[in-house]
Symmetry: C2
Subunit: 305 residues, 2 copies
């Protein structure tokens, strides 16, 4: 079983988002687990799962439909983006491996170029160049900047196709990665510089917490600012650690946390560890949860009841 | 499937606790989910599950073994107790009802008297008199006090057997109830009166939070005090609500919470709601947890993968 989490540059026209989901769900054997849209980000994330072949097919249909519906020349949102289908990560779940997901990412990239003529960059575990491991490096300059750079700078050229990007759909950044928690914390202020300062303080790339990517973004529709984060290895830095640190830094600015948001799904481990931390349950073990204990017994069956 | 959570008046001799567990596990079809012992309480709690007939048999064997191993005349612990096997609640899990557990409690009570000659009181949903619904009312005066009272006061007489209690094993308080969270919060002080004041402030019976029983107890071995609680309907008052309130009251006394403890298991819902609260995840839904979502899809199957 493999999870695929396409990020689309459409978060306002929900009819279009529905069509994107439909393109995925039209593949037999795929199940859409989750869908979320944000109008300030102008972006939607759909989470789906299935076996390898079905997931590949769903990803291609999603890329094709996104290219039909989205024209990046008219896209303005607060979240950086390079493509109509902007990011296409494959994630191993139980019974599959990261290397399978790398192979799948490469197959998807080949087909996106050969069938749709949209250039492809590979990132994280699927990267073909070490400097493209980090998504934010690949996406630096966004659609408008990379469109120019790719023509002249070999370092910015797509891994497959190009050098010209697709005129309306840009390029797709395809990757393989471990499960990621997309976690945003909204602050009760409209001062963007506070969110940006906190994002800078906590992100790995500027010496903050391990395995954290963070941006400070305005949520204009709500008159708030947001620390928008990807926790790329939640076993290294858990959401509750990030939450505590962002809350502490915000208090230093005299600002309260309004609320937080998950974009997509969260692993059970992260939820359990947040609960144990907040309740000060020392030595907490997942097997203290009655349903986990019963599930484990059922798996270990057969028992005579 | 029914859960049974016997509480034994033995928390120091762990070899004896092992024999109690063995008595239960010797019944085919039973699974011991959890075991916990506390030397200050001088008490152990074993959680086991199985089908009706097996659970009844396990409960009887546990009562018999406890009567062999424990002499209440020599038992000194901080937790109130009336019997060697002190409390014997039956709890409905998926696929069983509270009324089935009431019937089971009554069958167990009959056998404990007829086979072991230990008198029985019924409590909560299995109570035969309204004033015995509350466990703490049944146990008021403990072994030493009730042993006398039962002889002279019809209101304190066992529901089955007696009026004299068993000379060494006391009486068993048998009941049926919803799932309960036994949750203790330890405070960084040795001043018992602070734990007692907080316990009084939060317990339902003195106008505190709904569905909360609470006692202030000393943890002499650790030089701490404890607010020892039963959350008898966690959907009405969740552990994180209790934790926040106890922490707040403790701070009012200038005292910090050291840590908390679960005695037995905790339902997944309570863990998830604690996490959502602490992370300020507004509108949290259990289906945001990837494993829950996958489990639900598997249950709703068949899907082609």
């Amino acid at each position: 079983m493999i999870e695929c989490v396409p990020n689309f540059s459409e978060g306002r026209n929900l009819e279009h988002v529905r069509l994107l989901e439909q393109a995925i769900a039209s593949v037999s054997g795929l199940v859409v687990l989750h869908r979320t849209s944000d109008s300030d980000h102008h972006r939607s994330v759909i989470t789906f799962v299935g076996k390898r072949g079905a997931v590949l097919e769903g990803a291609i249909r999603a890329a094709a439909r996104a290219a039909e519906l989205i024209d990046l020349n008219f896209h303005r949102g607060v979240h950086p983006r390079l493509g109509a289908l902007d990011v296409l990560p494959f994630v191993p779940l139980a019974g599959s491996s990261l290397s399978e997901c790398v192979a799948l990412a490469h197959q998807a990239g080949e087909r996106i170029w050969s069938e749709l003529r949209i250039p492809v960059y590979f990132y994280e575990a699927a990267a073909l160049r070490p400097e493209r491991t980090r998504l934010e490096e690949v996406r630096r300059g966004q659609f408008e900047g990379i469109r120019e750079a790719a023509l002249h700078d070999p370092a910015r050229r797509p891994d497959i196709g190009g050098p010209a990007l697709h005129q309306t759909a840009g390029a797709v950044i395809v990757g393989a990665r471990k499960i990621l928690i997309a976690f945003n914390i909204n602050l009760r202020t409209s001062q963007l510089e506070i969110a940006q300062a906190i994002a800078k303080a906590i992100r790995t790339s500027s010496g903050g917490l391990p395995a954290v990517k963070a941006l400070g973004l305005p949520l204009l529709s709500r008159n708030l600012v947001q620390v928008s984060m990807n926790l790329t290895d939640f076993e290294r830095t858990l959401p509750h650690v990030v939450f505590a640190e962002v809350s502490r830094l915000a208090r230093g600015h005299g600002i309260e946390v309004e609320e937080s948001e998950l974009i997509g799904l969260i692993p059970r481990d992260a939820i359990e560890m947040a609960a144990a931390y907040s309740l000060k349950l020392s030595g907490f073990d997942s097997q203290w949860v009655i349903e986990n204990k019963l599930d484990q017994l059922a798996i270990q069956g057969p028992r005579p009841y």
